[in-house]
Symmetry: C2
Subunit: 290 residues, 2 copies
């Protein structure tokens, strides 16, 4: 990793992410902590004025300390709550550790296989973003592999209860994670009643991605649920998708019982939001129906 401490200047005082060629979101920056070219991507960590530390890959905001729970809770808990007894979990990506931290809240978990392509994201997160990975690196249940997710998944068969893909948007190395061959491998890796879940980018800015990902999921899984959440540092609407051979329709009573029994602590998700987050605005319904 070739880290370099850039000189402070007026231009350094803002971190800007282009959401699309025509829209950008900017955060005022207190100081730049890391800027490094890894084997896979440009990794940056800055301390913002209002959102705590912010990590970006190739200029795209991956997380901020202030709202990362909104994203990680919605990525992780709906599929884990939909499963009566998730024991073996596979996490693809999420090098910051936030997804693993949330998975480990469920006491029934026995093994978490964690595959991250970029080791330097893991080590930088461990150093600069400890609140994301509290307890993650000292937990015996967690088994970290460095490599591309799709290769590890191919080796698994009838082995996993929950797969969670915590990837960047479908650009660069993440493209295969949104495509049919990968979903095939995931379906094969799952045990009976298993659930595949993933972040699915913004249906407002990238409707075609959401549409094709949902269509691919429907080819592989009998029950597919697209659901939405707010993540302020990802402006517009964020979507997540999960699919299973088992039914994903749960009663509120079941969700509440599981949430209580597992002792979950959340700042965004509630059991009531499981259903509500899957009630889609008409323009999103139009993307995924038919």
């Amino acid at each position: 990793m070739s880290a370099n401490s850039e000189p402070q200047s007026a231009l350094d005082s803002v971190f800007t992410e282009d959401q699309t060629p025509g829209v950008s979101l900017s955060f005022r920056v207190r100081r730049r902590l890391l800027s490094a070219k890894t084997a896979y991507q440009q990794l940056e960590i800055v301390e913002t004025e209002e959102f705590g530390k912010l990590m970006a890959l190739d200029g795209k905001v991956m997380l901020t300390e202030r709202d990362e729970r909104f994203y990680h809770e919605m990525l992780v808990h709906p599929s884990l709550l939909a499963h009566p007894q998730p024991q073996r979990v596979l996490v693809v990506g999420g090098g910051d550790g936030g997804t693993i931290r949330e998975v480990l809240q469920h006491p029934c978990i026995e093994r978490v296989i964690w595959v991250e392509i970029d080791e330097e994201v893991v080590s930088a997160s461990r150093e600069y973003l400890p609140s994301l990975n509290t307890g993650v690196f000292t937990d015996d249940r967690v088994e970290l592999h460095v490599g591309p997710g799709e290769q590890i998944v191919e080796q698994l068969q009838n082995d996993i209860d929950i797969i969670i893909v915590d990837s960047t948007d479908p650009i660069g190395p993440a493209i295969p994670l949104f495509e049919l061959p990968f979903f095939h491998s995931c379906a094969r890796a799952l045990r009976d009643g298993g659930i595949h879940s993933m972040q699915c980018c913004s249906p407002f800015f990238y409707p075609a991605h959401v549409q094709s990902t949902h269509a691919n999921m429907r080819q592989l899984f009998a029950s597919v649920r697209l659901y939405l959440g707010y993540v302020p540092s990802y402006p517009a609407i964020w979507s997540y998708c999960m699919g299973s051979e088992a039914s994903l329709d749960l009663s509120l009573e079941t969700l509440r019982t599981r949430y209580e029994e597992r002792g979950l602590r959340t700042s965004y998700l509630t059991p009531e939001m499981y259903q509500a987050s899957a009630v889609l605005p008409r323009f999103v319904l139009d993307l995924v129906s038919g």
Copy 2:
């Protein structure tokens, strides 16, 4: 109105709104259509690359053509659908006309009293943003008054079925619209079963405003509903609030029937979203409970 056509320059090619001192959202601009100092505020209309035309007051985005329906539908239809037969509607603000356009979708409406403080916003919207106010200025049911909303409301008693406050955020001339004396006047202006509704800013960026507005509403109305929606050009989460002496809890069947019977056409709201939009993330629940 002192309009001036500014020269095009590199600096003109972006419209930036500061959401807070530390966060801003920028839109790439094709051309600037209007920049004028009205009696109340700085009014700008620009044509963006991706969001159609954008109108701003005092540097704050009021609407973009691309996502204004997300906002106007969520502001207008929940309260109108919650009423079995809304006939007399009072709209405070919303000089662009989008709220009136949505109100007029309900065929039971007999009279819309529309009070806007800034006549120049109305005339500029009529000229530059005709899709916002199609049919609005030619409809005999609409009665436009120019003046501060709180003064007109004080003159009304037991007269109105639905009040809709389509204001800027609680800064400048809009401050009284978020405070207790105005809510008192609104409660008095409503007929039996009447509903007061309003936009309520972002609970993520302005939690104290949402908390105090909700608390004020609860002092005046037996039934108060805070609900949320996505508006991509207002990043983070947007909230709306409605209150009534009548119950606001509706069955999905009732909502679907009213939505169908009134022939509504929406791009964002569905009857199912009425309930789902009021399922609040935990951090918002924490603001409004207790």
